[in-house]
Amino acid sequence: MGTSVIARRAGLLATLALCVILLALVPKLPPYYVRVADSILIYIILAVGLNLVVGYAGLLDLGFIAFYAVGAYAYAFLASGQFDIHLPFIVILFIGAAAGAIAGVLLGFPVLKLRGDYLAIVTLSFGEIIRIAINNADELTNGPQGIAGLDRASLFGLPLTSPVHFYWLLLALAIIICASVYYMERSILGKAWRALREDQDVVRGLGINTTTLKLLAFALSAAIGGAGGVIFGSFQRFVSPESFTFQESLLVVLIIIIGGVGNIVGVIAGAIVLVVLPEVLHFAAQYRLLIYGIVLVTVIVLRPGGLVSPRFNLSFIIRKVRNLWLSPSKT
């Protein structure tokens, strides 16, 4: 074993330690930064969820934020004075995910025969329909005024009150979701999704029910969106339709495209860039969409595959790390 291997291992350990330390230091920062970190984590969760549909199954869904809304309103209905129901946070987290999944299947059934642009148009409309329905169902949702005074969430007896608490919760959830999606990606389900993205007819010719396959992607992705929505609702303790506009769906799609379609590492990078950039450029807040547009065009021109190369993905990193430990000669 040469010194170079030892050096590389040390370097790797140092990198890992640095990541952990950075993540652990975030709560020590001023509240503003913790909020930005929370926001990044929420968008990571959403984008990893949507990526199941867009990146793996290859279906462009422009109405993803509707599932987020379903989750947020699930929390608002089940943990507030609105109907005087006060369920525990963890229960609603699962209910929100399930409600998201059901909404995903309901949307999926009618639209999955469509392809490409048509699917994008219908999902876009679906997102808008959900928002407008919430806006108009006054008795249920208070319409545009929204529902305020949602319960303070608590988890296993620990109250979730500050952005720091949510930081830990979101970090845990983001890690769990990334790990599960990574597992799925590597399983035969992930392979079937990738095949579906390449040639749907051939996949059917292999005896695979492509409708089921797409519905599964829609349902899982919508469940992640729903769970994200529940956390959002409990964090804001206020929900109103204006949080769920088409712009939000677009932002999640942009995160995926700019970061790297179908790549968890890319999606994380995309979320960081697109959440941090408007914060840095907050003096130009009214130009937010313009900024997104410029970033999108720049990335598409300079790095059409996204900021992170498709080869630099989680499997690649994990393989590198494993090889460095088990068979250093291979690296």
Partner: protein, 274 residues
Amino acid sequence: MALALENVSKHFGSLVAIKNLSLTFDVGSVYSIIGPNGAGKSTVVNMIAGSYSVTSGAIRLGASVLNRLPKHRVAQLGIARTYQNLRLFDGMTVLENLEVCFFPQSWLTYLTGARRLGKSERLDICHACLERFGLSDVADTLAGDLPYGRQKILELARAFVTEAPIVLLDEPAAGLNHTETKDMAALIASLKRADRAIILVEHDMDMVMSISDRIDVLNYGELLCSGTPELVRTNEKVQEAYLGTTEELDTIRKLAQGRRAQGGLRSNAGIVRH
């Protein structure tokens, strides 16, 4: 198990691509479907595989009527195929192209974890298949990065990996050079088995004549003749369909001479430019 086409017709608008075709394919043999371009060979393959609906008639496999089932159900009943134009999953590795064939076939088996095959079993089968088709060295290469000849073989492997009793091969030798075609013929011949019917659509006559147990000749969507290679080779109607009658040949020759006198055949010019 036998596959039977019973009075099958296929119309594309006003075009009659297949007209009252009845054929039976039994496991244990290699069948070839031949005929001039546009005769309807691929249409037959596509109808059996469930890619095309049939206009009238029935396609049966055992007790099932295939033409009433959705395409994935047809495949599940044991019909595998290749395509006239390569259709691999280019962005996936050679191994993954085979693995995908073992995706659990129903919701229930997937959700309950009662998968058809465990992961290690699946990998064993796929690796054995790669070995069999001489693709082990490229197991982790992206299918799209393989040279054309090996892509053709990979598509063949994908059709055989699930041990389907009926395998449809649409022009496996198209675009291959002479040696590759010979190897392909030997490979397909070696895949003949008592529990499998291979249905081959092919233009390469050496290959068809050497490996078929029966040849079905289509012309303009109709069965012209059907029988052993010797029978088909000597059948006059077949020669006419492929080469034209002697009178027609004479006419063509005369026309060609006339044109040449006027400064060359237009179709020739096209060929030269290629």
